[in-house]
Symmetry: C5
Subunit: 360 residues, 5 copies
Amino acid sequence: MSPLKLIRQRNLPNFKKKKAGSAPGTVAHIGRKVLENMSINILDYDHEKITIEEIDKVIECKPFAASKAVTWVEVMGLHETDKLKTLWDDFGFHPLIQEDIVNTLQRPKIEDYGEQIFIVMKMLRIKDGEIQEEQVSLVLSSDYVFSFQETDEPFLDPIKTRLQVENSRIRKSGTDYLAYALMDAIIDYYFETLEEIGNKITEIEDEIFEKTKDSHLKEIHNLRRELINFRRSVWPLRDGINSLLRDESPLIEAETKLFIRDTFDHLFQVIEMIDNSREMLSGLYDMYMTDISNRMNEVMKVLTIIATIFIPLTFIAGIYGMNFANMPELNWKYGYPTVWVIMISLTFVMIIYFKRKKWL
Amino acid sequence: MSPLKLIRQRNLPNFKKKKAGSAPGTVAHIGRKVLENMSINILDYDHEKITIEEIDKVIECKPFAASKAVTWVEVMGLHETDKLKTLWDDFGFHPLIQEDIVNTLQRPKIEDYGEQIFIVMKMLRIKDGEIQEEQVSLVLSSDYVFSFQETDEPFLDPIKTRLQVENSRIRKSGTDYLAYALMDAIIDYYFETLEEIGNKITEIEDEIFEKTKDSHLKEIHNLRRELINFRRSVWPLRDGINSLLRDESPLIEAETKLFIRDTFDHLFQVIEMIDNSREMLSGLYDMYMTDISNRMNEVMKVLTIIATIFIPLTFIAGIYGMNFANMPELNWKYGYPTVWVIMISLTFVMIIYFKRKKWL
Amino acid sequence: MSPLKLIRQRNLPNFKKKKAGSAPGTVAHIGRKVLENMSINILDYDHEKITIEEIDKVIECKPFAASKAVTWVEVMGLHETDKLKTLWDDFGFHPLIQEDIVNTLQRPKIEDYGEQIFIVMKMLRIKDGEIQEEQVSLVLSSDYVFSFQETDEPFLDPIKTRLQVENSRIRKSGTDYLAYALMDAIIDYYFETLEEIGNKITEIEDEIFEKTKDSHLKEIHNLRRELINFRRSVWPLRDGINSLLRDESPLIEAETKLFIRDTFDHLFQVIEMIDNSREMLSGLYDMYMTDISNRMNEVMKVLTIIATIFIPLTFIAGIYGMNFANMPELNWKYGYPTVWVIMISLTFVMIIYFKRKKWL
Amino acid sequence: MSPLKLIRQRNLPNFKKKKAGSAPGTVAHIGRKVLENMSINILDYDHEKITIEEIDKVIECKPFAASKAVTWVEVMGLHETDKLKTLWDDFGFHPLIQEDIVNTLQRPKIEDYGEQIFIVMKMLRIKDGEIQEEQVSLVLSSDYVFSFQETDEPFLDPIKTRLQVENSRIRKSGTDYLAYALMDAIIDYYFETLEEIGNKITEIEDEIFEKTKDSHLKEIHNLRRELINFRRSVWPLRDGINSLLRDESPLIEAETKLFIRDTFDHLFQVIEMIDNSREMLSGLYDMYMTDISNRMNEVMKVLTIIATIFIPLTFIAGIYGMNFANMPELNWKYGYPTVWVIMISLTFVMIIYFKRKKWL
Amino acid sequence: MSPLKLIRQRNLPNFKKKKAGSAPGTVAHIGRKVLENMSINILDYDHEKITIEEIDKVIECKPFAASKAVTWVEVMGLHETDKLKTLWDDFGFHPLIQEDIVNTLQRPKIEDYGEQIFIVMKMLRIKDGEIQEEQVSLVLSSDYVFSFQETDEPFLDPIKTRLQVENSRIRKSGTDYLAYALMDAIIDYYFETLEEIGNKITEIEDEIFEKTKDSHLKEIHNLRRELINFRRSVWPLRDGINSLLRDESPLIEAETKLFIRDTFDHLFQVIEMIDNSREMLSGLYDMYMTDISNRMNEVMKVLTIIATIFIPLTFIAGIYGMNFANMPELNWKYGYPTVWVIMISLTFVMIIYFKRKKWL
């Protein structure tokens, strides 16, 4: 995983923001262009039958939504704003909803527009060792659920599979349960991503306990940034889901609220896992810094031991290297061996001293 | 205690999480497999008599629950999901309850499903010097209390003992009091575990005050992680118990609420003890870092003292080791002793200087 | 960008504050004098027609406000307090509003005075590589919106452009929508400014990963101060906008509240971006400090390697530089080469030792 | 003060906690045994007369409580649980109250049991230079106030003195005022203890500004722990007193609430003083660490100055100590003095360099 | 400014606190004695006329208060508690008010006693380069406002000046407006004091960017303490003013509440300025610490460069200082110059190496 690269790409201003002062409701795509063509899938079902169809023209989805069955319109690709605008105007989306769907830098949120509930979430998945962020918007009314995503990644396919099981709860329930199922699926991916991050942290920890490397610092720094970003993509949903539970929207049935409460719980678990990971990273950083200090200590000890032993010895040798005419020791028979004895004794004294200090 | 090992085992992804997008209410065991066979104990009692029985087939517990007496069904082992599913469907457990009981990575929580109250807690006990974490779920209705645990550890036995005392409060009370007694017993174990951790902290503190070792850093780091994990296993209960006290569930009597309030208080005490332990660990880490700095200082002082004393002396010896033809000092009668006097004086000056600086 | 300079200029006491104990409602300009002359623009519009006029005398704006059309009075320059006072008394501004408009050190706020709503915001734009702060006040009544700004910078021009589009929402709406549009425009500029700051942070990060320089510390320090200041200029609006949404002011229509809610969301996004930037700076500071420690380590290693290799060698050389009469080695035929062999072997041993320690 | 010792004694597990899973309401003394015999004082008073008596048998206090006068039963020593149990059953104490009075590890709290209000506080006093912690419980009903303390320390005597003043407010008021007076007296001791701690902090600060010692670190560490513990003994009362003020207990009169509000204020002042002391300790720790760094810097400077001056000089001396046959300088008449001149010049250059760097 | 000295004097226990357990309402002066004699000024005014008088006897102020006009009784000096007690009993002050006025260690607060509102604030002014703290209490009833201050500093004189302006709002309003004006005047002084502190911080910052001195650490430490103290003197007012705004006291008119809301806003601005200053100090401390590390780095580099260059050279010189009989190099004709060449080359290599490492 090279998180730095993608943070750059995601976080920063190769994304053009909306022009300051432009009218709200301006439908202009903001973000990366990732898909050449938009594609639209329709899933129209009740507890008896299900129709799955890919349509070409936007207008074709109108009859499905008008049917009594639950209709899920899955839109992939957000670049063809003209087509999208036609679609939305047909279905009477509020201008602010329109603006927010194509602005892929949106903060996650859940907003109640009376006839419609608008949900913005972030899909966060590890792909090719990198966290891919993608905005997923849901628009929920009593007849249909629209889902909008930037790419054509099939991450919502598990829901499609469940929809094909006859007599399953999802087939027997309404649009609110479908919306819940989609939200829950996205949150489930958060767990997978967080586990990958957790693995990475344990890996670094194991390595640091063995031998700190300079690269660890960068990895810790990058993971930290990843988690800051992750938290930002998840935290705001808290308020939104909470208000879904609290407010009396006619679009959400009481029974479904039990499930949404469960999702709320999952969300909290995700936030807790993020916070725990951040605390662990913080602990790792402390370990790293301590290790640096410890290594410095060791370096200094080696220097000090060598210098402390040899500098006095060199001094003694220097004494008897002097050229004074009158140095009686130089002519003593045992002068030279005596100096050796002194030197060796001194060395032993030093070594004992260092042993005492536990430097050796 | 080797906390690192168990954190690894517990925290990380040898645990398979639920597949993203799978239907809620899917009964699939998630976590470690720790028991080969499931065992079920029935305790059926009122203030007059008590029946304790181990049953083989799931179906056998039905008549007990139907009786007017309070029934406690103690289930140990969560692997045989088929058997469990039969049991649950018989008793009409909500699909979300079913899913959560076998998902042993559940966040602690207390949820009111109308006819039933569902409680998830974490058992945390020190065994063989390691913290053992285990999920305990309670399902409370007006007629019965189900308890589900992963292992066959008899940690709920003190409650069984109390149940055998005739005319005790627990025998005279209903299911709500039993559920309270079980929750309180689990929280009591938290205190024991925290005391063990507290002992470990004091031990490290004593050792650090005497002589810091490198291993202390790892121990501090690991205890820190333990406590992060501990807090996560306890903190969410706060909200749950609070809502039990606040909400008007017909399953909880007013008199029992007094006792639950006491449990709430114990929980806060546990959280406070965790936070205090964390602050103390943080203080220990500061101590450790300071000690490293102090030792570095000491090393540097030794080096500086030796170098500062001998480098000038060696220079003087070097001077008179030069071979200039014309060095009058070399031929002076007292040249050599004079140099010694100078050297010794210089050494004394240095030593006095260091004494002044309090380096010696 | 040289943020330090402007913080000095903005934050500190070349700004005269109001004299302690002076009466509230005292209209005295506080802050920098940036414009020689005040200029007033009138935009009077309904969905059918729009009149744009620059007026000379304050009195001339009276008839526009009296008309049934929406009137926007844009005042640039706050020094001519006499003129302003005349204007305000004519329109019945509360003394506290009057005092706050000219006190450019005001905290951002939104206050409801019954007939009027008073809004104080800070314009924050990067100009010539420096953040320019300017106070913008809005006074909203059912008939008019007054905007007051310190300079004649045309940052509200995008709104004027939108006003000239016939049948646009802004032309069809009342004063509340105009006030919303002005607030939203100002908040849009925050995003631009934050992106510039984000660019700067990424730039520093890239440089630090390559090679830390001393100047980075100053830059981090200054950006940190910038962000403290930025947050202070934005955070208080939160409460104000929230109370606009919550309170039942007759001046704000229900439909407009949807838009204001969107602005509220943008504001939160701004605050989050600020907090993220601060966390990133904090991470950068850690990186910087770690780098310093690492460099110290490297310096120490070089010293230790050199000293540890050469000090013992020099000692050996010193031994055989002694002048004892009786040193048999000196006269051995292979004495000199033997010493060389010993020295070179010792050097190899050292180098292997350092390799093992990974210092080389 | 040697806070470490007493933290050990107080905080840690020579205190046996209640056995996990034991029934609530089990009356078992938990904590240190500090008094051999229990003693009971009765103060029975109304505005006209006061009776003070020490009684031997528990049963003797019954008639006093039955009288119309206010009765304060002061119980010292909590070991004779049998006697206490008799007493409590007579007065109809709730089992949970009974359990909590003898559990001296209780968290401070105020609980309303309808007929009785139960208050647990911690007495914190400096005695023989150490903080003595002791649990004080109050049980307030409409007829009596019971106070329970672990030791026979007369710290509630000031209240007794006030009770003997005829026509004083306390004599004219009911049990609620007496309970207030006792609580307020205990909180007053907190101030004294905090002032002692404050003195200690200032003392350390003065010493650190003069000359840091290693012992300071331990003292800071210990005071920090003391304050963590202090806060824990005070903070929970906040909620309790607040609910006394808010709830409509018939035991507390409106007039007394004014006084309790004052106590609430004192409590906040205590918490603030604790927090300020902690911030100051944190500042002292920073000072200590900075001082260590500064001293290291100084040590390094001395080493560097000596080494930088003498190593080059020694090199020069080494040059002319070489034994090459052909070294013309050695035979120059002024060779030796020239070398001295070079050496002295070099030394001056170095000294000027260090002066410039402000190392000297 | 030498903040340390005054913190000592203010913060610490040369102030005698109230004796633990003494009765509430005990009128005993607590704090420094700063004025020999108490002086009392009366300002009695309505919109038509104003009487200003200094009175000698406490009793003389009675008739003024009885008049229908607004009466401001300004009391300076709090030592003559007997006189004060007479005064207060005359005006029916609650015992708790009496106790708090003379306890100059009071926490700021605003309390509603029905007929009277009691306000405690702290005056914080820089005088002779030091922050002077003084307690100011206000007692507001429908007929009069009492102000009590410790010294005879004329800091409330601006209000007197405004009172002499006929037809000013203050003259036309009641006691509530007067109390507001006094509070606002005191808060205005906070701004001045904070600006002085801000100047000091900028000054230190400029100096640190140029050249860190040891004294900076003390200054930062002291300013930090000053701000902790400042915050404590301001923060509690928040709640008080808020409850004034929220509660329906008959003493405060609706119109005045608008002004008090403004004061509330100022208070928040003060708190924000304090917090910003603290963050800046924290940044400065980081700068200081970084600078110390950087200087250490530089010292180490100098040492390493010198040692690394000269130690190998000295070794070479040592080689040819050996006295082996058989050292062919010594007798080579170009031996000596060759050694010089080698040495100089080595030096160049080293210098290039250091240049590469950017140490030079």
